[in-house]
């Protein structure tokens, strides 16, 4: 059994990582999941959170907002709308994202209000998580 898999992390503007990974921890919409080589094919949407990549060089954390992950036989590709290396995230960036989520929550369509509230909560959790982790 292969002990590594191809991992790609791309945002609309650039490719952030393309490495051999041992495991990837993904904040999926229905809960976190850890992907290891030979995972069953899966497509899941992301919620805002921390994505952890474990490769031969150690673990790297990325703060991601919405997007999706495609887990296939040949590896994992994560397409995230906004991606930052976790320790580069600043308070101001989090505040801005929480603020925009709050706006979205306020102006959300009645059908969407739950989703927007969840998004806001996830954003705030992400903010706390990053704040504890450094800065």
């Amino acid at each position: 059994m292969a002990d590594t898999m191809q991992f790609d992390l791309v945002s609309p503007e650039r490719r952030l990582a393309s490495v051999q990974a041992r495991e990837v921890r993904i904040p999926g919409a229905d809960g976190d999941l850890t992907v290891m080589p030979d995972h069953a094919p899966l497509i899941t949407t992301l919620r805002p959170g921390i994505l952890t990549l474990v490769s031969a060089e150690g673990a790297t954390e990325y703060a991601v907002t919405g997007g999706f992950a495609e887990i296939g036989p040949e590896g994992v590709s994560v397409l995230a709308e906004r991606v930052h290396v976790a320790h580069e995230v600043t308070r101001a960036m989090i505040d801005e994202m929480v603020e925009s989520a709050r706006e979205a929550h306020k102006s959300a369509h009645p059908d969407m209000v739950d989703a927007a509230a969840k998004l806001l909560a996830d954003m705030e959790a992400l903010g706390l998580r990053v704040a504890v982790g450094g800065n």
């Binding site: 790609d8 791309v10 945002s11 609309p12 503007e13 650039r14 490719r15 999926g28 919409a29 229905d30 069953a40 094919p41 899966l42 497509i43 899941t44 949407t45 919405g66 997007g67 999706f68 495609e70 296939g72 590709s77 397409l79 709308e81």
Partner: protein, 289 residues
Amino acid sequence: MPSLKDLKNRIGSVKSTRKITKAMQMVAAAKLRRAQDAAVAARPYAERMTAVMSGLAAGLDGSDSAPRLLAGTGADRTHLLVVMTAERGLCGGFNSTIVRLARARAGELLKQGKTVKILTVGKKGREQLKRDLASHFVDHVDLSEVKRMGYDTAQGITRDLIRRFDAGEFDVATLFFNRFQSVIAQVPTAQQVIPAHFDATEAASSLYDYEPSEEAILADLLPRSIATQVFTALLENGASEQGARMTAMDNATRNAGDMIDRLTIVYNRSRQAAITKELIEIISGAEAL
């Protein structure tokens, strides 16, 4: 016959024009590099997105649960044309080719008795369409404040599009932009984004598990996929604009050079003629004595 002084002024002015066009060409070349890099960097995301969307869409095609953004409103009456052009001119046929394509499409649709709405992105297209299609304008996106084309811009445009679609303002949306092929070739392109259209070539859909359900993912991803298409179009357009400007300015620089050569010949001839004339006057004066 212009005087020597006039000619000299003329040469001077063409020379300074040449300096400006040369500078613009070099600036465009530098910007083109950056725009091309941005377009290349955005490609993996767009490709993966399209691949996954094709799979998803193929699985759901024709079923009743397909979201409206994919299935459309069922009508084909009101068309929204999103005309993407540059904020600046002096880039050869770049703006005109897009406008020409959009205008042809608008004419066609109007002839079929459909309603046409136009959303302009970038000032130049708006100016050119104002003459005959101003009554169809619904909105304008100003890019003059945008220093670097970011995904945020595309998201903003997409949110606006989806809001209008949900409000029933149009049935079909088409993007008009220039696809970048090379520095000298930009292809004006019309691309339908709403209802979303995917080539259902990949039947990999059944291979995957979906979390949450297929429908939920599709509903979540459709707006993102549209934003990606808008973003790609903006980047392609950005690269095309700089490429077109570079070519146009290169031509202008060369033309200015030719003009300077011609004017210099005329200048030298007239100067020589004046000298000869003076000599003849002196000699004939001396002979008369």
